[in-house]
Amino acid sequence: MPREIHPGIHWIQEFGPDRPGIAKSLVDRGAHWYRPGREIHVPQNAFLFTGERTLLFDTLSPAATDRILADLERVLDGRALDYLALSHPDVPHAGNTFRILERHPGAKLVAPSFGRTHELYHLEDAHKVGPGDSLDLGGKRLHFHDAAFLDAAMSMWMTEETSGMLLPVDWMGLPLMDGEGLLFADEFRSPVDEDRYAEFHGRVMFWMRYVDVARTQKEIDLVLETYRPRMVASAHGPVIRADVPRYFEMMKEVVERVATGGRTGVL
């Protein structure tokens, strides 16, 4: 069941399968927030924006086709989907694109403008957006940006004006225990801290082990200063609705941990 996280913004989540391999590594290293025996999941999130027009940001993975189609129908409640925006053409983020467009043939596909290989992703006919581009849904205004921390080159971040929401896609994700689906970060019983974030980023942004720590931390400060987000909605973590700068400080610690401690695994 989707959760409305701000008037007209709905969070749709694929909780993902249990990851015993991650649980084992957490036990082995004594991760303080993990309770042995609990399931571990790495979620995929999609966000539906409903103004006078509607936009879905990302599609969940092919393992959740039924979920995304059903949840879309539930929230749209007979309305049309006007836009389907892809943060980047990765399977877990874009794997249901065709199925959604089949169900909503009037939706306009929106994709990052970066790069020259859109044909290799079936995105040559998509409406391409990049830094400086905006989309007014009527009551919701979206802005598109270069992704600062990413995996695929053809990526974008998005912000939404009325909520002050930053959608940093693969950045600021973390593993969840069972029962933690669709919770705001401030609703967790176990701590949402740099250790949880490091577990995720040491897998997804494994390249942080090769970075200049000070330079990367400076970029985090710059992201905060540039967007001044009031909410953060990652594709793989809990939505943050309060005290955003504190989480950015955690992310600076994460860079240092991955750079010095190395990769934590794979996703």
Binding site: Y121, D151, A153, W207, V266, L267
Partner: protein, 260 residues
């Protein structure tokens, strides 16, 4: 030694290049405009009596790949597919190839293949090894990659290292399908730089000394006959140091030019 010379068996639109006695490069080209291109290739290992494909290529080249793999395998097709990662230009032909050649084995390094759309894949572990169609394959942690589940694939028998998105090159029109032994003037630094700048965006944060140290250590520890990139021209062992020097120059330039 002639078998290791990188013989072009069909120059022109359909170059097929033998890198070693049993490993060949099926080079596909994608034009970027402005006289620059990028390869979106696959590699074929002819094992004892089975054929292993490294990556499946892009759906953009599907017809050509089917035709050329059929020709290269005398109509047998493939028995195993080893995926470096699930990005579409690497994995875009799996259903089509399976329809044509049956439910061949797929080996993929994802932590959770279902999420990557590969519920039927045999999982490889980065840092581990597997026997695939009788070949010992090592799955290495790739210093030059973007997706979490990417692995570099080392075929012990041929000593070819398949490096997915690393070691790419924005080649010129007359460099399509040429290995480092065939490039008339070798690699140009500019095209190594632009490829990595445009493909591995995180390099803007890199500490070049750390990154290049890890890369050089990998090659010092492992006897490599060829470095086989999906998006570049294969690099023979004797040209690797030159490429690495140019790569380091490129990474330093990316860091310098993208000040934060």
């Amino acid at each position: 030694m002639s078998e290791d010379r990188g013989t072009v068996t069909a120059l022109g639109a359909d170059p097929e290049v033998a890198l070693t006695r049993d490993v060949s490069w099926i080079a596909e080209n994608y034009p970027l405009g402005g006289g620059r291109n990028v390869h979106v290739s696959v590699f074929l290992i002819r094992a004892e009596d089975q054929n292993i494909l490294i990556d499946s290529g892009s759906f953009y080249h599907r017809e050509s790949l089917v035709r050329r793999i059929s020709r290269a395998t005398a109509g047998e097709g493939i028995h195993s597919l080893v995926l470096s990662h699930s990005d579409y230009p690497h994995s875009g032909n799996i259903p089509a190839f399976r329809r044509r050649w049956g439910d061949f084995e797929i080996v993929a390094s994802s932590g959770e293949p279902e999420i990557q759309g590969l519920p039927y894949a045999r999982r490889s572990r980065i840092g581990g090894s597997l026997e695939v169609a009788g070949r010992e394959i090592d799955f290495l942690d790739p210093p030059l990659a973007d997706r979490s589940h990417t692995s570099w694939i080392y075929d012990r028998a041929s000593r070819v290292l398949f490096v997915a998105d690393g070691f790419g090159y924005h080649h010129a029109d007359d460099e399509i399908g040429l290995t480092s032994r065939q490039l008339p003037n070798g690699f140009r630094s500019e095209e190594i730089y632009t490829f990595h700048r445009d493909t591995l965006i995180w390099l803007r944060y890199a500490d070049p000394a750390v990154l290049m140290g890890v890369l050089r250590e990998m090659f010092a520890e492992r006897d490599v006959s060829w470095v086989a990139p999906i998006h570049g021209n294969p690099i023979a062992a004797e040209h690797l140091d030159d490429y690495l020097e140019r790569l380091e120059e490129g990474v330093r330039r990316i860091v310098r030019e993208q000040a934060i």
